[in-house]
Subunit: 132 residues, 2 copies
Amino acid sequence: MSKQELVVLGRDTEGCCPTLLTAPLDEDRAVDLARVFKALGDPVRLRLLSMIASRAGGEICVCDLTPAFDLSQPTISHHLKLLKQAGLIASERRGTWVYYRLLPAMTDRLAAILTRPAGDPLPEPASAPVGA
Amino acid sequence: MSKQELVVLGRDTEGCCPTLLTAPLDEDRAVDLARVFKALGDPVRLRLLSMIASRAGGEICVCDLTPAFDLSQPTISHHLKLLKQAGLIASERRGTWVYYRLLPAMTDRLAAILTRPAGDPLPEPASAPVGA
């Protein structure tokens, strides 16, 4: 993870610093953070991430991921590469197969920046409910 | 918001149901959820969302959003439309201007599905740390 990503995402877990909801993001931070959300913005990658994260034992062989999808092995590998580049998963080759595991620090950080600070509820505007 | 979205995102806030990290997502839920993350997967939209969410008073005029970007009004409006379609913000026209406000229920739900359940830490695999 880049130093910048650590600044963007790491400090938010401390509860000391602005989150996405409490202060305007600057441009550099927005670029880094958008890359992680973009990695999550695909149904196949979300399914892969949920399969990896929920696997008993904490890791899963790529050979157990591929059969769940009607997609080629190279396509699955491409999606896994994007999740890995976003810092959401890590991989390790052992023998014939590659094994994947969640990097919970990143999902923890995303959860933190999307969480409203305790005691600082967002005010509702005084006007009537807003239409669609 | 569609009924399906409510199923995907709403139940997770109760702490009763699988999150992204505790059970494999089915295909339909992944499609709905990916659309919301995709809306967040752009630096301009993240900056717009943070400006809207952090605004004192809970809402912001589009006339106060546009000057922060080196982008045309139609481009800003397009990004705002995508955030709105994702259920992240709402808008209301009053007189000349449109005012935007956060829909915190959606960010609350995203935070919830990215949060590991208490007492259910993800196990670390027994192997050595994984390389990049």
